[in-house]
């Protein structure tokens, strides 16, 4: 505004030294000044004149519109529950809320996305859920806030993303394609293979685990000669999963030279050395803590080879501790998801090298309760069920909750109760334990019941 700067400099220097010059001010202000106006009288008028004359900004470009549709929102009480979890109440159930909403086709109230994105920023397991929840807003918000870059994982089908996207978008695009069309994904990877850096080669190779088949064998064989150790390791691991692969044949041949079954005894000869060919197939020549070098080589070979019939487990072993072989078979059984082997290893109380939970997961759900009952004589119940995927099957949940009903208030059950609170599946949330009275000092029991009831209500609201 005209004349204002003059008023400011008069005020700074003092009117004694620089008397204000009101003539510079806009005429409407001058007309209002009467008598012997002081600097502050004029400044007050000028201040209001300035404030009243304020105009909107021009030339500001609105943000582009996020493309796509919005899903319908769930009922208000479900939204209120989400709000409560975001402010810290029962927030451990947040992921479950998101999973149910996703499965039922509900959208997320968009005003909660910033809090959810911040929450998932440091918790990778939540990211896919938040990406799905964000819907059309995911990439849009990721473009505006660098802290939410992971939201770029929202996949478009645009092949441009594969050639020109950032690393997050490329990985997401490739994973989605592999899911949809494994062959096309293999071709896409083959095209860029020579020009990708080693870390990307290893990462993309890892994605092939989805829908793995004999079609992938050639590329994986080629990757066994890769300069990067990580790439070779991933390739060997994948080849061992392909039925009837050349890799499997090579491993089986090796096994047959070291393990000979005759007259009801399994006679073991240990490898003398690791050949170049063995190293190429991923056998690690380095020493292994807790195991002799040669025994370690044998164990790797057996673990990477196709499994024989499980009857072999019954044979007495000569030449090495039987546990070495058992651990190797356990590893192979998990890799092959071989039910017969898992059943046999668990029943024989075989050495599984901490793979008990993984073997349990291989069993059909209806066999689980019996297997758990059998194992709990040796292994703590919470260790057994703690490694099972969540949610548990209803039969496991009932086994555990029935047990907890019986144990009173003893503190040493708190850990199992903590695990069960999150792992019980929706169909078992109405277990009688939720209707039993809990005392104030019953800390773990009341917390368990509170969580079960909370989750039950959550399922009802989102149904």
């Amino acid at each position: 505004m005209r004349g204002w700067d003059g008023l400011v400099s008069s005020a700074l220097l003092g009117t004694e030294r620089r008397p204000p010059n009101f003539e510079e001010l806009p005429p409407p202000i001058q007309q209002q000044l009467s008598g012997e106006p002081g600097l502050l009288d004029a400044a007050a008028l000028a201040t209001l004149y300035k404030r009243a004359g304020r105009l909107p900004l021009r030339g500001v470009e609105p943000l582009p519109v996020a493309e796509g549709e919005d899903r319908p929102l769930p009922r208000p009480n479900a939204i209120r529950r989400l709000t409560a979890m975001l402010t810290g109440f029962q927030s451990a159930a947040l992921g479950e809320w998101l999973r149910i909403a996703e499965a039922k086709g509900w959208g997320i109230p968009p005003e909660h996305l910033p809090a959810l994105a911040d929450y998932a920023r440091g918790r990778a397991e939540y990211r896919p859920l938040v990406v799905a929840a964000a819907g059309r807003r995911a990439a849009w918000l990721a473009g505006l806030n660098p802290e939410w870059r992971f939201l770029h994982e929202a996949v478009g089908e645009d092949p441009e993303l594969w050639t020109h996207g950032n690393s997050i978008q490329r990985r997401a695009w490739f994973r989605a394609l592999r899911q949809r069309d494994p062959g096309a994904a293999l071709d896409a990877l083959g095209e860029v293979w020579p020009t990708e850096p080693a870390s990307a080669r290893a990462e993309f190779l890892g994605v092939l685990k989805t829908n793995l088949s004999g079609a992938d064998e050639d590329l994986l064989e080629q990757a066994l000669d890769d300069k990067a150790k990580d790439v070779r390791r991933v390739a060997a691991g994948l080849l061992a999963r392909i039925d009837g692969s050349r890799y499997g044949v090579r491993m089986a041949e090796r096994v047959s030279t070291y393990l000979v079954q005759s007259q009801g005894v399994l006679a073991v000869t240990l490898p003398e050395r690791v050949s170049k060919a063995m190293e190429r197939d991923g056998i690690d020549a380095q020493a292994h803590p807790g195991l002799g070098r040669r025994a370690w080589w044998l164990r790797q070979i057996v673990a990477a080879a196709p499994l024989p019939a499980p009857g072999i487990l019954q044979l007495p072993v000569e030449g090495i501790a039987a546990e070495v072989l058992q651990a190797a078979w356990a590893e192979a059984a998990v890799r092959e998801q071989n039910v017969e082997w898992a059943r046999a290893l668990l029943r024989h109380n075989a050495a599984t090298d901490n793979r008990t939970s993984e073997l349990l997961r291989v069993l059909p759900p209806d066999e689980l309760p019996a297997a758990i009952e059998h194992l709990r004589a040796r292994i703590d119940l919470s260790d057994l069920v703690g490694g099972l995927p969540v949610p548990w099957s209803a039969s496991v949940a009932e086994l555990v909750l029935d047990q907890l009903v019986k144990v009173g208030t003893a503190r040493n059950w708190a850990r199992l109760a903590g695990i069960a609170a999150r792992a019980v599946p929706p169909e078992a949330l109405n277990h009688p334990i939720t209707r039993e009275p809990t005392g104030e000092e019953d800390t773990w029991r009341s917390r368990l019941v509170e969580t079960l009831v909370f989750r039950r209500e959550m399922y009802e609201e989102l149904s």
Partner: protein
């Protein structure tokens, strides 16, 4: 001070410095930890203004021997002067605000003045003090302008803070607040001299208006009184304030937590009258505010009683029926919204906040900050301190209707509607 001779004797026994740790005294209080028979030492404090006492010991005597001991120590000069520790300060603050509330309650007993003569004397005493304060302020302002503000970058903050304290003494808390705000401007950014001049000019305007109070239209005189810091008792507002009955749409709320006091501003708009209204709520820091009469975006059927003034905004709410759901409200373009603010300034030149309802605005980047653009391409900037992310996520680039507070530094969004769903942003 002791309740009985036995306590006095017991108190004497506590009056040994060796019994106490982390003890001290300030102008208003004494405190310390006294080792008793238990593991934890007792926490003792005395508010000298009462005097009032508090001690964590289980004694039912009041004051207990620890408090008596502390006072004896103090009277013999054995308590060092110190700043009040947090636990003492928070107790004093709590007591103060309780005393204030009690005084307020006593003051506003409707239609009943215990001693009208005394009340009148009190009022005229206060008027005298305010007048003296305004005179002091006027000569201070004239002095500064004559000699120049150029040294202010160094001395301005302290000088203005002292002046603000003087205005509190003069029972003109409103002006004191304005002076404190001016202090906050000093030295901030390179445009501070201009901003300081704006603040001082508006304070000067208050002072001038006060000297012509009798000549002003009554509503304007009320506004000036409010600026200075006269509060109108709620009983009077309820009895005499302008009454408007309507279904009031809750435009939004702003909560400003402070070290001492949390303030909540709830903005309303009458569904038929179109009148704007402001409901203030206060709570001591850390305490809960009263629950909202309705959520932003809902309607409260109510009678409002407005405080007097040239721009009657502040009101008391008397809810007449349960709250109701409401659809997306109609709003204004950026240009119309600014014009409504200007209109408010002609009624109350000191008006700092004005509620706006912006219709169909889209978020935009404005340099480092954000703005909302209307369909005509006119934009209002968001306050730089505002967290924009909820608003951005709700809009996703689509036009939204947004309510907020406007002041000359920018727009502070409160509630947004994308469809008919109101969302607090």
């Amino acid at each position: 001070m002791a309740p009985d001779p036995a306590s006095a004797k017991a108190g004497q026994a506590q009056a040994r410095p060796a019994k106490w740790s982390r003890s001290g005294s300030s102008e208003g209080a004494l405190w310390g930890y006294c080792q008793g028979s238990g593991k934890q030492p007792y926490q003792t404090m005395v508010d000298l203004s009462g005097p009032a006492f508090r001690c964590s010991c289980p004694s039912r005597k009041f004051p207990c021997k620890h408090a008596v001991g502390l006072m004896v120590l103090w009277s013999t000069g054995e308590l060092a002067a110190a700043d009040e520790p947090d636990w003492v300060e928070s107790w004093l603050t709590e007591r103060n605000s309780r005393a204030e509330r009690a005084a307020e309650r006593a003051e506003k007993k409707p239609g009943e003045v215990a001693d009208p003569l005394a009340a009148q004397q009190r009022a005229s005493r206060r008027a005298d003090r305010v007048s003296a304060g305004m005179a002091e302020l006027r000569s201070w302002l004239d002095d500064q302008v004559r000699r120049g503000l150029s040294g202010f970058e160094q001395r301005g903050y302290d000088e203005l803070s002292r002046l603000a304290a003087r205005m509190v003494d003069a029972q003109a808390p409103g002006v004191a607040g304005a002076v404190r705000r001016a202090a906050g401007v000093v030295g901030r950014g390179h445009g501070w001299p201009g901003e300081l001049l704006e603040e001082l000019a508006l304070i000067h305007l208050t002072v001038s208006a006060h000297s012509r109070l009798a000549d002003l239209p009554p509503a304007t005189a009320d506004t000036v009184q409010t600026r200075i810091g006269w509060t109108v008792e709620t009983a009077r507002v309820q009895a005499e304030g302008e009454k408007v009955e309507d279904d009031w749409l809750v435009l939004g709320r702003v909560v400003e937590p402070d070290d001492r006091l949390t303030v909540r501003r709830l903005w309303l708009r009458g569904a038929t009258s179109g009148r704007l209204a402001l409901i203030l709520a206060f709570a001591p820091a850390g305490r809960r505010l009263d629950p909202l009469p309705a959520r932003p975006g809902e309607l409260v059927p109510a009678v409002l009683s407005f405080y007097p003034g040239a721009l009657p905004l502040r009101a008391l709410l008397d809810q007449t029926a349960p709250r109701l759901p409401a659809a997306k409200p109609a709003g204004m373009s950026a240009r119309q919204a600014l014009a409504s603010y200007v209109e408010s300034l002609t009624a109350d030149p000191w008006n700092e906040r004005w509620p706006l309802v912006l219709q169909d605005v889209r978020p935009a980047r404005n340099g480092e900050n954000w703005a909302l653009v209307d369909p005509a391409g006119d934009a209002l900037e968001l306050l730089p301190t505002v967290d924009p992310w909820k608003l951005l996520a709700v809009s996703a680039g689509d036009p939204v209707t947004v309510t907020g507070e406007w002041n000359r530094a920018g727009f502070r969004p409160m509630t947004a509607w994308h469809t008919d769903r109101a969302v607090i942003v």
